[in-house]
């Protein structure tokens, strides 16, 4: 399917994915698996699914994204299950909504393993090339051009350029014009996007130094072990296959001496000296930011994490910095255990072009160019998991567009992925967007443990989840419901055995018939402990029991959250007619009118989340719509 005209190669394909990071890999795999001929372009074939920053996947709320991605048919969960070297369920002392899985990856193995997955995928081709131009005809994407002049004609494209567009790295006074880890930057695509009416901006992010492991004194740090029983990320991974030997991480702390050195050298930090124009993330702050913003804190946590089994290099979590090399070394050496550290790679900040994400539809298609989608850090997010989640959705929707099928748009009550994308497309994000638990209003329903129950159906409808896999989820759902019903309808009376059991567990004796479900709600009793009173109990898998316990124990909270969701859906379903002329709506404030005209939200719910639109504007809009609808009915 290629021909040569004007001495240049022309190749026909269905989808072009620009970038082979976490977003690009998911996007490309989704398109190819849905049956489309797909090319993934990367400036370096050795940087597929690269982890240029932290060596882990998951963590608070990010773990949720990975599980949701897995339930929909994405790859990240499976890949980390194959390549992790330590795994931990975080926040187990808190409620089930905030439990979150985090695994340390062997970075190199993670990258290589993903590369093998891409290579094995029929219809998916990886090409080392920089994309310098997009071709747009009549408002629709028609192809992309590489730096060597080859044109790939396509029906849809996904930009997943990460931090590579016009990237520059800063380490104190030293500036290099490269992408992460010294990889080649992509300096041409920005101009082509701007030419097509797409607005870009500058964001920055940073990464800490890597140390020679042999130069560190671990006896001065606290050892951090993985969980004894590892829970896999992917719902498809056999739990037994992930029970293996794990490596440790280490915890140490900064101190006043560290902070003194940082404060004394702030003027040499490009951010504080005003050299960096991009806006950095508030939630993944550099050590300089932490010292300035939490001035009263005497110490900050520092996690020493292995980069992989193939190397002795250690990642210094919590101390990203753009200070000059000499200050970095002095600063790191004040930390207990790091007194004699030798730096393998310096910490640096990276600045790059990315999209003003309000230009996206909730499908991740650009409003300005039909068939052009985007995902990941290019959309102004930060983090591997955020990128992968968007990549999958962009890939799915690019495919749906080509097939002429309904796009997949998850709402805020359905998935963290829905929250992530809704925030990106409606809110005025002025810094790299990081997923956080607090952003999900309905998080008690959006737990990591039930991502399969929530989302497998969507993945199956799309075509990324097989009948067999989906059937297993349905079967699980059935077992859960039956067991809950059984526990609710199994009533115990006040017989001697029961009363004796309760007395021995310090639990109040029964006065009237009480169900097993009610007994499970008593803090001193659990499903496991009630076994002697429950001879008819079936043998159930542990993930089924987990769901049963959560749904019974927190029933009241779950119900109240569901009421909130119904309220939310009401305004989501209150659609704004496409023909609306906001100039006809009296009394909207000027700022709100501009925002509404610019974003053209599909529903009142979406309108209410736009930055610059106040509740007063929404009430005006609601009243207008009510009158508008009454007129239309006539």
């Amino acid at each position: 399917m290629s021909d040569i005209s004007n001495n240049h190669l022309n190749i026909d394909t269905d989808v072009c994915v620009i970038g082979a990071g976490h977003a690009g890999c998911e996007a490309g795999l989704a398109c190819a698996r849905l049956g489309l001929d797909t090319y993934i372009f990367t400036v370096s074939i050795d940087s597929i699914a690269l982890m240029p920053c932290n060596p882990n996947v998951g963590g608070s709320s990010k773990g949720h994204l990975v599980r949701e991605l897995d339930a929909l048919g994405g790859e990240m969960g499976k890949n980390i299950d194959k390549t992790f070297i330590q795994s931990k369920m975080l926040n187990v002392s808190k409620g089930p909504a905030v439990h979150s899985l985090r695994a340390q990856a062997d970075k190199s193995e993670y990258s290589r393993s993903m590369r093998r997955v891409l290579e094995k995928e029929e219809r998916l081709h990886v090409k080392q090339a920089e994309i310098v131009k997009i071709l747009v005809n009549d408002g629709s994407i028609t192809g992309v051009i590489t730096n060597t002049g080859t044109t790939y004609h396509c029906k849809a494209a996904v930009i997943a350029s990460g931090t590579y567009l016009k990237a520059r790295c800063l380490c104190g006074e030293s500036i290099t014009y490269t992408g992460p880890s010294g990889l080649q930057a992509a300096n041409s695509l920005s101009a082509s996007l701007i030419e097509n009416g797409i607005r870009l901006r500058r964001f920055k992010t940073g990464t800490p130094a890597r140390m020679e492991g042999a130069s560190l004194d671990y006896s001065k740090m606290e050892e951090q072990f993985g969980d004894e029983r590892v829970v896999p990320f992917s719902f498809s991974t056999d739990p037994e296959s992930v029970q293996k030997e794990q490596v440790s991480c280490w915890l140490t702390y900064t101190n006043e001496e560290t902070h003194k050195i940082i404060r004394a050298n702030l003027d040499r930090s490009p951010i504080y000296a005003g050299v960096i124009e991009g806006t950095g993330p508030r939630y993944c702050p550099s050590i300089e930011d932490k010292v300035v913003k939490f001035a009263e804190k005497e110490r900050h946590q520092v996690f020493i994490e292995p980069e992989g089994l193939y190397t002795d290099e250690m990642y210094v979590g919590g101390m990203s910095s753009s200070l000059p090399e000499d200050v970095q070394l002095a600063m790191y050496r004040t930390v207990p255990g790091l007194e004699n550290c030798r730096i393998v790679r310096n910490a640096y900040a990276i600045e790059y072009d990315c999209l003003e994400s309000g230009q996206l539809k909730p499908t991740l298609e650009l409003k300005a160019v039909s068939g052009l989608f985007s995902a990941g850090q290019f959309n102004g997010s930060s983090g591997y998991e955020e990128a992968a989640a968007q990549g999958l959705i962009a890939g799915i929707n690019a495919s749906m567009k080509i097939f002429g099928r309904e796009p997949l748009v998850l709402d805020r009550s359905e998935a963290y992925i829905g929250v992530l994308i809704d925030d990106l497309v409606t809110k005025d994000n002025r810094e790299p967007y990081r997923m956080m638990t607090s952003r999900a209003e309905y998080r008690l329903l959006l737990r990591q443990d039930n991502a399969d129950l929530r989302l497998r159906g969507f993945g199956h409808d799309i075509g990324l989840v097989s009948d067999e896999v989906y059937g297993k989820t349905l079967q699980k759902e059935k077992m859960i419901n039956e067991e809950i019903q059984r526990l609710k309808s199994t009533i115990l009376g006040g017989d001697a055995v029961t009363q004796e059991f309760l007395a021995s567990h310090g639990s109040a004796l029964l006065r009237t018939g009480t169900s097993l479900a009610e007994l499970m709600c008593r803090p001193e009793l659990s499903y496991e402990e009630l076994l002697p009173l429950d001879p008819g109990r079936p043998d159930l898998p542990s993930d089924v029991i987990e769901q049963v316990c959560i749904q019974i124990r927190y029933e009241g909270y779950l119900e109240r959250q569901e009421i909130q969701v119904r309220q939310f859906k009401k305004t989501e379903k209150k659609l704004i007619p496409e023909s609306i002329d906001y100039d006809d709506v009296p009394s909207l404030r000027i700022e709100a009118r501009q925002k509404l005209k610019e974003f053209r939200p599909v529903s009142v719910g979406q309108a209410s989340r736009l930055s610059g639109v106040t509740p007063a504007d929404i009430s005006v809009l609601l009243v207008y719509l009510e009158q508008y609808n009454r007129k239309t009915v006539d």
Binding site: T437, S438, L444, R560, K570, V623, Q627, K631
Partner: protein
Amino acid sequence: MDNRTIAAISTALSEGGIGIIRISGGESFDIVNRIFRDKAGKASLLSFKTHSIHYGFIYDGDDLIDEVMVSVMKAPNTFTREDIVEINCHGGVLVCRKILELVLDKGAFLAEPGEFTKRAFLNGRIDLSRAEAVMDLISSKNSSALTNSVNMLRGRLYDRIRSLREKVLYEIAFIESALDDPEHISLDGYPEKFSKTVDEIYAEVMRLYDSFDKGRFIKEGINTVIVGKPNVGKSSLMNLLSGHERAIVTEIPGTTRDTIEEQINLGEVSLNLIDTAGIRETDDRVENIGVERARRFLDRSDLVLFTIDTSVPLTEEDRQIASLSAQKKVILVLNKSDREPVVSAEDVRDLIPGDPPVVRVSALEGTGVKKLTSVIREMFLSGNISSESEVYITSIRQASELKAVSESLDMVRKSLEEGLPEDFYSIDLNNAYSGLSRIIGEQVDDDLVNEIFSKFCMGK
């Protein structure tokens, strides 16, 4: 939206006083230009400065109707955010009506009740709680009701709710930040501190909620039933109250065909006496027992005036009435105190638990009303009701939102008691926050629109 220019007489119609005709809308100036002339015999309202007042005359053709002052207020800094003209006239009811007819004749439409307020709301001039206050103002019946409406209009309710809402938000934000950044924000010892804060917020919500009754009593009067066995002097108490020199008695048709309600305005306190017809008739009909009356009307009453004749011994019937009234606010009214008592105040007090107040009246001598009024005031409007700083909730919408807010806070307390992890507080805290937001219009949902449409009777 509605572009008609509307007009109405915006003061109560009374003989002799000043009346104001208010006109609002795009054609206000044109319309008034057609009927108003200044001393020089000409006028163009448009040339007047905004928020200025002008002396002149209203003409119907060549006929002089009245000598007036005309206020000119230009959009958007007006109550409705539209051009407004107000004609202050002197000639009493007939002249007021005549001028309104003229204005309507020249192109204005008669405003529906509350339509100025509706426009103010629709045009973003006031939020819903203020719009409600204006509706109250229009229909306020006594002096304290007027003060409350004015306070609410100034935004006192708004400010109080807002500050509560901020407190709730602070806690939500704190918990969320701690979940997101456990390294820097610690929840150690937080539940204890938080528990106190929730109690404080809860108490304040309940104070506001309880003021709903107070607000309703001020606005609408206290539903009062007089009970007692036959011939204890219910009708003479009734007559005593309605015949009191300060009382103004209005007859209102009752909600059922055989009852008549009367509103008795005792200065700051208004009583809605239930079934006054019943009282007047029953005293003559021995077979109609007091227990039956008590049972029928207790449900609807806020106040029970339990009348007892101290000159005859207490009977089983007194005790039955007492037990029926026990759940209500009761005042024991000892009648016929001019006669030799055979029943002591202590005997009577024992009838009803909770030490209800006892007031002696003598219908015959016309004494005790003043005392009764002050007891009622103490009971229902405790605190200084004429104080301008007090705010009362007067709308059912606000009250039911506050009730829901208090229930959500209760759920939070339950989570605390059961020792659930902090992230569980958020669901109910968020519900409380939404409820508070809805009261002051900082959060709007679909239900609100329906309410606006029903409240303001908006057509198509």
